[in-house]
């Protein structure tokens, strides 16, 4: 019959419309709470929803990526132990060449240290591809989840070391799976290294 397709389409639309509001009577706390957002974005929910952005946030996937940040480990007495060794791999793989690193120097001897003195990421160029994070051998540079970085002036768009540094606990919070994997990997590597050193010691 002609016109059946249109009727079917309209039926689908009205089904969605009703399903969106039927649940409101059954369930409470569906709006403006983290649990509500979680439930509404789960597969079992029916209906179509708007994310009321500033009040409630979409649950981001763990591998969501935005402008990268640098990880530091918190020391016992509160000092920040930067993981970056200023090797420059990230600056080399960056397709848009947004990363600029200056290696730190020993103030007494003038020899280069394996720490960055300056680290810049130009966010006017960064295309969030994640290659820097993928290639970093020290898990020092990680893609962030923070997207609220709009600014009024272009001067604030080049992120320096102070702006880029974020703690390892923040990293663990936003990417728990990756953090656990990488931590286990590093532990295994350290163990193998220790065993090798012990064997070498025994030979001597």
């Amino acid at each position: 019959m002609d016109g059946r397709g249109i009727l079917n389409g309209l039926a689908v639309t009205i089904k969605h419309f009703i399903a969106t509001y039927v649940d409101d009577f059954k369930r409470k706390n569906r709006y403006f709470t983290p649990e509500g957002v979680k439930y509404r974005s789960s597969p079992e929910v029916e209906g179509i929803f708007t994310i009321q952005y500033p009040e409630e946030r979409r649950i981001l996937h763990e591998n969501f990526r935005y402008i990268p940040f640098l990880v530091y480990d918190e020391g016992e007495d509160g000092q920040r132990d930067i993981r970056c060794t200023a090797c420059g791999i990230c600056a080399k793989v960056c397709p848009a060449q947004t990363i600029w690193i200056v290696r730190a120097k020993d103030p007494e001897t003038g020899r280069p240290l394996s720490k960055p003195a300056e680290f810049y990421i130009d966010t006017t160029l960064c295309m969030n591809c994640g290659l820097c994070a993928e290639f970093c051998p020290f898990d020092a540079i990680i893609m962030d989840h923070d997207y609220e970085i709009a600014v009024y002036s272009k001067d604030h768009m080049v992120f320096d070391l102070e702006r880029l540094l974020k703690s390892a606990s923040y990293y663990q919070r936003i990417r728990p799976t990756q953090y656990a994997e990488k931590a286990a990997e590093r532990e295994a590597k350290a163990k193998a290294k220790a065993a090798k050193a012990a064997r070498r010691g025994a030979k001597k």
Binding site: T50, A96, C126, A150
Partner: protein, 218 residues
């Protein structure tokens, strides 16, 4: 950040006597005017590249620009308040962007959405890309990201709303600066000369072939 609501109209910054509280609204003209202006920022229906797709997603029901009073994407610059430069600004498009900007009525705002619009992005040193739309027109809010998520764009728009709120009535209605349209330089090849070029290359090719044939014989 909080979504703007009508609260600030209730708090004018003046002392209101207790008996008048709840029955009168005291506000400045600036505040009232900016409150209206801020909640009806109409963007121009105008997209340049992949960021435009994200802009469309922001306007659709999942993120819903209408909650901010910005749902009416105007297809004409004469009716729009904000120009969301969403995508790579190529040199070909530059004169048109400036022309559209000149045609917008005051007060007008520009948002540079994404890496390409704010600084050229990965194409910064490209032969055909303007490295940042701020080289052509004044930009109010920059949104980094490639492309920015719908939330990031909404955040940028909220930043713009905050900016509008702080503006004074007097300063926004100044005479608009006319920005001269950039002119495209001469092309490397003029399409009208294509037959001539073709003839020339054919002749050269023939000569080369003859030379090769002679070399083979000799």
């Amino acid at each position: 950040m909080k979504r703007p609501n009508g609260d600030e109209l209730q708090k004018p910054g003046y002392e209101i006597p207790d008996e008048l509280k709840g029955s009168v609204v005291v506000t400045t003209l600036n505040r009232l005017y900016n409150w209206g202006r801020r909640n009806s920022v109409w963007p121009m229906m105008f997209g340049l590249a992949c960021c435009a797709i994200e802009m469309i997603a922001t306007a659709a029901s999942r993120y819903d620009l209408a909650r901010f009073g910005m749902e009416v994407m105007r297809p004409s610059p004469r009716q729009s308040d904000v120009m969301i430069v969403s995508g790579t600004v190529t040199k070909r498009m530059a004169p048109l962007i400036v022309r559209l900007y000149n045609q917008m009525p005051m007060p007008k705002y520009v948002i540079a959405m994404g890496a390409c619009a704010s600084g050229g992005g990965p194409f910064k040193e490209g032969y055909n890309v303007v490295s940042g739309v701020d080289k052509l027109i004044p930009v109010d809010v920059y949104i980094p990201g490639c492309p920015p998520t719908p939330e990031a764009l909404l955040f940028g728009l909220m930043k713009l709303q905050q900016k509008i709120e702080k503006q004074s009535f007097k300063e926004v209605y100044t005479k608009p600066d006319y920005i001269p349209e950039p002119v495209l330089g001469p092309d490397l090849m003029d399409p009208r000369d294509y037959p001539k070029i073709r003839e020339y290359t054919q002749k050269k090719l023939q000569e080369l072939q003859e030379q090769a044939a002679q070399a083979a014989q000799g």
